[in-house]
Amino acid sequence: MPGRGANRVDNIWLVAAAWMGLALAASLVSIQLGISVALIEILVGVLAGNFLGLHSTGWVDFLATFGSGLLTFLAGAEIDPEALRRHKRPALAIGAVSCLLPFAGAFAFAFWAAHWELHAALIAGVALSTTSVAVVYAVMVETGLNRTELGKLILAACFVTDFGTVLLLGILFARFDAWMLLFLAITVLVLWNLPQLLRLVIARLGHRVSEPEIKFLFLVLFGLGGLAKLAQSEAVLPAYLVGLAVAGVFLRDRVLMDRMRTIAFSLLTPFYFLKAGLYVSLPAVASGAGLIAALLLVKMVAKGVGVWPVAGAFGLARRDNAYTTLLMSTGLTFGTISALFGLDNHIINQAQYTILVTTVIGSAVVPTLIAQRYFTPTVPSVDGAPAGEYRLPKRRATDR
């Protein structure tokens, strides 16, 4: 018969209260400091894992996984399709090199210099290939650059990079067999019809108290996520694609976007970010400090080598180019998602996870500080007049 101590550990309400208490504390600190609640939740998770002995449970794992899926979905749904279409060529070029070079650089460093195993090194490459759209957006709002064409180009390029990261995570560890074919076939079919279907659901049933449109989206996310797992792929891949597919619907239906965000930020993402911090070992941070600094440098240099010449080729002025390159070096959400995928699937161990997550957090902070301190473009502040100009690519007759 279990003792009273065991009962406390198994008491789902007390465990939930502990996690939600930490999430609430993180919210309060975040509001007070003006720092993202996600970052604070990770740091609170680090403290809880190292000093309070907090552990994950099966249902926490589910909520955290659902949270990371919903975060990925929202990241896809937040894209501005019009801006992406307008800046298609430079965004694709900058976004692609911004993903692939850091992936190659971090993989090579982890594999040959740090002597990680092949799959662990691949996880390092994926985790450090990211660019945080949200971090970039936050910095650009502060400077007013989000209202300029340069800002919109940078954001569009970030989305391309994120898509590359999600794609790498989705295919690198997948099994290419009949399940993969089934997953791809059903995903294409669903994505093709999803915008129309969602509009139909909203028009016929939308915004009732039973929220059929949200349940419909969850059904799609769970179903495609399940198929992805059968193909040994990762559920974030279909989640991002579903977000991209319905971005146009979400742009017009802000109520739906607000409700999805409320569900995500109040109940699900706190479990994800707290869990992401939970497995960061402080002793491993201390012993791996040199490797963390080296990987951060590799990421920033690789981003620079990739983004700088491409952005320059599209006519960005020197200062704007430096700013763009540094902002493209940031990362947070997809970096932690990739690292946690590696840990959950036993591809990396806790020490490697610690190094990757700490590097990812560093990549959210260090390039941002350098960019803001030394390279902020001069932007007319109040009325949104464009600054940070770059040469818009000429439209070809075939462009639509």
Partner: protein, 147 residues
Amino acid sequence: MFAKILVGLDGSAAAQHALEQALDMAQLTHGVVTVLSVEEKLPAYAATVGEMEDEQAFKGEYFRKIHDQARRLAAAKGVPLQTQTVSGHAADQLVRTAREGGHTLLVIGHTGHSRLHNLFLGSTADRVVEHAPCPVLVTRQQAGGSS
């Protein structure tokens, strides 16, 4: 002189007092007052764009309310008043707006941070006074309520 007055408004009692002083000044000079509110403490290092948008919407709604109050106050005194909301650091945005808008007077309230805060960060008033392109009036509420 002082025909274009810029005043920082963040909803605090000190800023409200500064607004009243600016309106009184504009009455005397037949000037125009521009109210500038700065969305500070937007979440840095955000995880989603939505986090930023929600926080901006929350602060935007707050500033809309205090701008409505400012308009009513200005209308009662017969002073033309414009409002602007921008994101960033208060001191930087006040100085930048004053410079770009060609304002002839900048009015701010003294909020009185702790000595420790001022030692490390400096007050908004200090930074504005140091960098403003025009005369700066820093108003201070006395215990009785007047400056």
